[in-house]
Symmetry: C2
Subunit: 381 residues, 2 copies
């Protein structure tokens, strides 16, 4: 049996960035990697990714002409939302930095769609800030569709299934050890019914989240951050914040350390058990909450004086960030296995990180308090 992993080129998913490399969640699609028969140590994921083609300028839309005419579709409105979010977040980041500018890479994908990667590095306030969007579509091989729809068995395999994936993702690492790192991503997936199985269901789902990773706890900052997430959630469903807060604590778990990467926020995936309009509005609300949740914290902390010890502790926590992203993060690990654009996938890694042997913060110290909150997630609001 062939699988999505042995399919021909120009079929499936594009490169995305970092913790939001767009990947089909395991509930929907299942992948395995295979060893190349003659080179067992050079494992090749045979899911072929389109090679991105650099573009000289941003298109008005990455959608097909026929679709972009109809600006009322979820696809079109989701693209508009993530591109506006990219602009507003980048403007806020540049403005807080006071000098450094984002470098932009625009790319297209022969199979359909493209993306805009923006990175600001070595700024006055920002060590490394990446804000990427991508909007891609194409044909999903039959096996992937069958994996996604185990109930739709058929003796003759359906033809490839049209899919659509769009998302924004961002990791923002400031220089000052009292200014926290933040990550967010929001994404939307669709599959159409295959042409030769017209009764098969069309599927869609939303995913995303926003989370904070400080090296030192300023309780008012963490409360403000979580309160902003909660307020966004509460506009839609009172169950959202507690549910997505816990999901976030569970997701950003570094198993081998028995600690979380940071102090959480919200995270959700595979969301399709609400009205599509409601989830689009909810994702938009979350994305719009990024700047007000985060930038006021940066403004308060970006110029605080700090010592080499503070910086070394921040660097150790950045090491944990690297461990989480390379070992556990689904977007990153899927991206590495499937040959996505490495620089986009790994832009989430900090500029610098540190690993000390057997480092243990002194009990009761500020470093210990952060670690304790990463080990024992707290309710902040």
């Amino acid at each position: 049996m062939t699988s999505i992993l042995s399919s021909s080129p120009s079929t499936f998913l594009p490169s995305f960035t970092s913790t939001t490399y767009v990947y089909p969640h395991s509930k929907h699609l299942h992948y395995t990697t295979r060893a190349h028969a003659h080179a067992p140590l050079r494992l090749r994921a045979t899911l072929s990714m389109d090679k991105e083609i650099p573009q000289s300028e941003r298109p008005l839309t990455f959608l097909k002409q026929s679709e972009s005419d109809s600006s009322s579709t979820i696809r079109s409105r989701f693209e508009k939302m993530i591109r506006e979010t990219q602009d507003s977040v980048c403007n806020a980041i540049e403005s807080s930095d006071g000098g450094a500018k984002f470098k932009e890479d625009v790319w297209s994908r022969p199979g359909g769609g493209g993306g805009i990667s923006r990175v600001l590095q070595d700024g006055a306030v920002w060590e490394k800030a990446g804000v990427n969007v991508s909007v891609v579509y194409g044909l999903m091989p039959p096996d992937a569709y069958r994996a996604a729809n185990p109930s739709s068995h058929s003796s003759s395999p359906p033809s490839p299934v049209p899919f659509f994936a769009a998302g924004i993702s961002s990791v923002l690492h400031p220089n000052n050890p009292f200014a926290p790192t933040m990550h967010f991503n929001y994404r939307y997936f669709e599959t159409d019914a295959p042409k030769d199985a017209p009764g098969a269901p069309r599927q869609w789902w939303f995913g995303g989240g926003t989370d904070l990773t400080p090296a030192y706890i300023f309780e008012e900052d963490v409360k403000h951050f979580h309160q902003t997430q909660k307020s966004a959630c509460d506009k839609f469903d009172p169950s959202f914040y507690p549910r997505f807060k816990k999901w976030c604590d569970d997701y950003f778990y570094i198993k081998h350390r028995d600690e979380r990467r940071g102090l959480g926020g919200i995270f959700f995936d595979d969301l399709n058990d609400y009205d599509q309009e409601l989830l689009l509005a909810f994702s938009t609300e979350c994305a719009n909450s990024v700047v007000p949740a985060y930038i006021p914290i940066i403004e308060k902390r970006k110029d605080l004086p700090f010592t080499d010890q503070h910086k070394a502790w921040q660097q150790l926590r950045r090491g944990r960030y690297v461990e989480f992203n390379l070992v556990y993060d689904r977007g990153t690990t899927f991206g590495l296995k499937t040959g996505g654009r490495i620089e986009s996938i790994l832009v989430s890694l900090p500029l610098t990180a540190r690993w000390e042997y057997d480092h243990k913060p002194e009990e009761g110290s500020e470093e210990w308090k952060l670690l304790d909150a990463c080990i024992n997630p707290k309710e902040w609001v």
Copy 2:
């Protein structure tokens, strides 16, 4: 069916360090991880590891009393060899540093055996140097044995299988960007026949290697390093060096970068198709070659003047080291999944590392030459 991953405590493998966390090679034993039924995001590898117990002093041997009386066994001689190697390498490292001393942690394992971890950090010459030995034994759950011996089917499962594993592992990261990182490890495994399947074969195998990871190429250094490995190999079999040199190039491959971690050396695993005495002697020769292969290079390079740019490039290459160890190295990934001693497993990571977005060395530059040699492995001798 239960598996080794759901077996009771005090059964299987111990913590080892880094790229030589002792793991059963996939040819012999197969493992999978399972999601915990009620906590899908907190994947728990249920292979229980003994919690190491710190000891106040080094025992003369980690072997059982009955075995240590018989100093002629391979086990006993392998332990002696790795402990002597640990002493001689640590002495050479301290001597080249001129001041810093190793910190030693001795531990024992309730199920059988123990280890000695030594780490030197923030020295004059060494950023981070770890040299660990461990000698452990106990009972391997029946399923692991069956996986290791697929031909020995039996309707009633055999009782747990006695196993023995010993090894030395080391990663040495100097400060000076012109002084290369080196890693080596040598290890020996045994399983006995299970008591209720007396006809089943007793198994043993050797593994190990020594490899060099410079940030800049001094051709004479790389030639000296490879020549020393080749000379050690050639004393035993002229096929060893070419075979193990290629194995090393294949093993330390960072697939998502399509480049190797460094400039290789030798690597072998699962070796049991030669006389046991020969392989013990070969492993001993390789271990004895570590100091003469490496320390002369350090002496020549440790005090060379360098710029911030040289240091930044070294740090970028350290980032690649982190990527390889966290994403691909079998010892590290097995160790992280099975709950070994994290500080021992991750002592291989450099003190500091760096990730720049889309960094590309200028063609023809010294940095480019290193990268080229990591992408296209060369014959050095």
